[in-house]
Symmetry: C2
Subunit: 683 residues, 2 copies
Amino acid sequence: MIKKYVFGQPVCTDAVVMNIPESGDAFSVMELTESDGVKLCCRMGERDVVYGLGEQVRGMNKRGFSYVSYATDDSIHTENKHSLYGAHNFLALARKSRETDSGEGGSFGIFVDDPGRVVFDVGETKHDQLVIQAGGDCVIYVIEGEDLKDIVRQFRRLIGRSYLPPKWAFGYQQSRWGYVCQEDVREVVRGHHGQGIPLEAVYLDIDYMENYKDFTVDGEKFPAFGDFVDEMKGQGVHLVPIIDAGVKIEKGYPVYEEGVQKGYFCKDEEEGDFVAAVWPGRVHFPDMLNPEARAWFGENYKFLTDQGIDGFWNDMNEPAIFYSEKNLEKVMDEVISLKDENLDIDSFFHMVEIVTGLSNNRKDYKSFYHNMNGEKVCHDKVHNLYGFNMTRAAAEAFEKLMPEKRTLLFSRSSYIGMHRYGGIWTGDNESWWSHILLSMQQMPALNMCGILYTGSDIGGFGSDTTEDLLMRWLEFAMFTPLMRNHAAMGTRRQEIYQFERIEDFRNLIRLRYGLLPYIYSEYMKAALSGGMYFRPIAFDYPEDAHADQVEDQLMIGESIMIAPVYVQNAKGRYVYLPEEMLMVRMRSLEDYASEAMDKGHHYVETDLNELVIFVKKNRVLPIAAPDRDVKTTADIEDAPIIWFGFIETAAEYVFYDDDGISRNPVPEEKWKTVTVRKEDLAC
Amino acid sequence: MIKKYVFGQPVCTDAVVMNIPESGDAFSVMELTESDGVKLCCRMGERDVVYGLGEQVRGMNKRGFSYVSYATDDSIHTENKHSLYGAHNFLALARKSRETDSGEGGSFGIFVDDPGRVVFDVGETKHDQLVIQAGGDCVIYVIEGEDLKDIVRQFRRLIGRSYLPPKWAFGYQQSRWGYVCQEDVREVVRGHHGQGIPLEAVYLDIDYMENYKDFTVDGEKFPAFGDFVDEMKGQGVHLVPIIDAGVKIEKGYPVYEEGVQKGYFCKDEEEGDFVAAVWPGRVHFPDMLNPEARAWFGENYKFLTDQGIDGFWNDMNEPAIFYSEKNLEKVMDEVISLKDENLDIDSFFHMVEIVTGLSNNRKDYKSFYHNMNGEKVCHDKVHNLYGFNMTRAAAEAFEKLMPEKRTLLFSRSSYIGMHRYGGIWTGDNESWWSHILLSMQQMPALNMCGILYTGSDIGGFGSDTTEDLLMRWLEFAMFTPLMRNHAAMGTRRQEIYQFERIEDFRNLIRLRYGLLPYIYSEYMKAALSGGMYFRPIAFDYPEDAHADQVEDQLMIGESIMIAPVYVQNAKGRYVYLPEEMLMVRMRSLEDYASEAMDKGHHYVETDLNELVIFVKKNRVLPIAAPDRDVKTTADIEDAPIIWFGFIETAAEYVFYDDDGISRNPVPEEKWKTVTVRKEDLAC
């Protein structure tokens, strides 16, 4: 049951799709105070767990820290960061302490639909207090249900169906900030194909553009771009260009000229077009919250789709700001005034602070404005909607430009609601072992918020990767819908053919393609029915007393659990089985073995090149067993399906499949139920 | 057996104390190349483990990363940092793969006595290659032995006896960058005593000085400082002031004037006194490598010891540099030249980089010089000796100033050799759960290098702590010789009386005092016999096939193993027992229970307020059971000793104790061997 509460004069965020009436009941699951905005407070029992909040640091259980919804371009994802790129204001408090701590009521979910700054203090200040602080103008939805899965399902109905990517978007993809010309891209394709490694897409980071101008292609580095797109398609490789939020200020650049002329850019305090800077230096920000401007921005993607592009990543849309023109002037003057001074602890750190504080400064976000249906709205109040609406701009344009086809689309910044238009990647992570775990912990939290098409930069974006890190990361990313290896300029090259254990890497990527029938089926079912593709163990085993404690295993789809290794030099790990399961150990699509394991704690040895999955009791999973070398998802379309499973006599599996490209999915009543008997199992 | 190899014209570092002859044998354990400096290379088998390197990031097994010995003031200790504050060039390669990878020979230790930049690529570039790159002038010691313990023991004989702190230095200590006046300190003492929490020392960070000038006390904030020291001593509390490396340039300030006049400061390229800046702005660096200057700097501590101070921490002695005068001018000019430009990706990041790059810039380290016995030596070549010799300056002075007494002394920067003069703390960590684990992993690596008196800032220095983080951290720090809660200005107050679970905290601190007879006994035995107080499990159980894999448990002294909880919200953890052990679970000195546990893997539930230790077979440990409230270590001097143990009939324990303050320890032949019978055990 969902109850809706409206406070003040909220803007319409379009986060939800169901128009439900305001509740007449008093706000009950948390204590409400309305003085300085809306404040909600409740006690948490010792064993209660809080799940959700999407893209944030720390564990699946969010207790013990405070999280601030304020989309931020911060590339150092350490434990003390309160904000990352997205704002996902939905959490579920799982009451596990009812026996001992009476009086708190049952579990509930809460969605704070406020696109400004919202703080979730989940027991940071006081271990047993959950405190939510929102602005004065917001809508709050409270959801009670049978269990966590039910609460999430209700919430997902409220916010609408998740984005459906094309099937090719589940293939293996390669990216690097540093492929600066056609030949670089060709080399990457050759590098993979030469080693028999499947490859579905190569990404174009900011260098493909002419001086970082959106909707341009540098004609010297990428001459005859349309032909090059075709050449790559001929090899089965999609090119996926980046689009940035800021539009370069440059006389004669049509996107800039048209935006100025039509008044489609965000305004500053003096009604001029707000000037910030990103890659190209000074830019204006298209007013993504103005429906007309949004439509206009979206139409510009046509420049690239006309040349055969069918996938995009939208970046820098928090929006990231290197500096605002006004603040830069101020800071410059202040720095100059310090010349020849004896800079001590105060003045020196002040100088460093104002220079580093030029970027992503909240004062700048408070100094520009949107035109929301004629109303002038300060950006700070609706900050978290920007990336959402940039991606919506693209998605709504694609519906017109390519009405039959799904496109690949994901974004760095997001807000709940954007999940209907595209996915996200988890931004600029690092080549850190701890970031494999962080990624594992973020996935179910994102799924709760409807964001299903997601993954982290495999191998790590910043810092130098190592062969073992990359391999262990791939073993987890084997299951993320977005499976993309991406790295920053200046770091060690991390395409898998750069390393020595090519055969192991090839086997792992081929395993991904083998697992695709299951991954795609489970993704689509989750998207179409409002389910979670990734779930904490405790969601599936709510009565298991230990399941809440498991922070490094995941349920994936209806049939399996994974327990990836994410510690350097580890040759195994502890795994908790909440019931008897079948462990399947795979070295390749041809080399695997299985073993039934009892409920309980186990230490499982796992060699660096082994993928281990755990199949639930009475469950099966379909695996493609292609009889030829696989280069892309197209090559598994007609591959024979074999079944892995853990069954006594037979089990049913709802096997979703489609052509992978049509916008309209197969309706639920036509989903295929397959009965698999024990004797049909390959493993 | 130790073999010594000399390359080029090495400076005398005083790292070692044994004068052994140069080996006539060819260099054998690694392949040697002498072209661009000294390069050593060897293959590592799949299961080989590398231990050592002291204060560095990542696991106990150092494989999979490269470590750069170049002392650096970097406060963000993430997985990608190649250098921290110290330089500890000793590692041991444990050959575990002999059966499968033949031809590599046995385990060995290697010490690269080169105080300049040294790189240890422990399988980062290539998973199976260990590559050490030193300068052309260095001494290398290769140690082969029976096992890891033996290799370490030989190395420790080579480098001399570790520092002996006074017993009070093992008590609970409180620090904060932010106690700016007497009343702040009194409040901290009252805060602890008011709650019955023992307290041994309060630290004075940089604010006690007059404008950050070494060997001054701000007379307004700390009037009649000597009286205040006495007042605190009356309450059992030692005051421990900080001393910084840089001496403020200020006319009339005697330390500055005298240093200039006597030529005791490091010189720049034009033979002037080198100008850098730290807290007070412009400073000179005393030439700690010039024996006369070192003696002079040391004598200055008298100003504080005369007022009753008997403990110090030496900081900023990498030496940290906020900026050099020359580079600041250059950067300022460059920033000014950018005014009114359109700063884009290149120019903007360049500007931020040169400003943030002002600090701890290697170019500055290459631009100043030492006078080493008349020879002019570029700082960069001997960079890692600076902190060592600052601390040696103090220690050598204390020998004269207080010839009978031990003093508390530890440093931020260090090099092997400094372990004879003082300890270290592990610098500016963060209130991160991962930093509990990092600290656990650093301890045995530091012990290998002789650094026994050490610990990390409990609760974390940077960022806001939480009650649960602080409590779990205390449960590990229970066993670190230096047990100090320290936090940065601007972070949440983290004295334990600021939180709600005061009783649990009090019990934990009291447990530390109860465990002190064991901790002190084991520390002193390790120091006096060249042993390790903290050991990886694999050091004690070399034949155990799983022990190498255990990165989060430690052997402490001869009787126990610990397995602290370091994951937020965890109510237990997996523990590996390499043999049958007795698990003792303690909630307080009065409330404990034990249980024998089998060899193998276990999941152990551990409430937030529980200290769990594992007692080895046939071992015992002495515990103080004071019959009155404990305020300081003095209160346990005459407390009855009770014994915990895991014995069948009886066991012997070598119980070291002394008056805790005399410089001369009890000679080994007089150490007391106690026989404890099963019926004598309290638990």
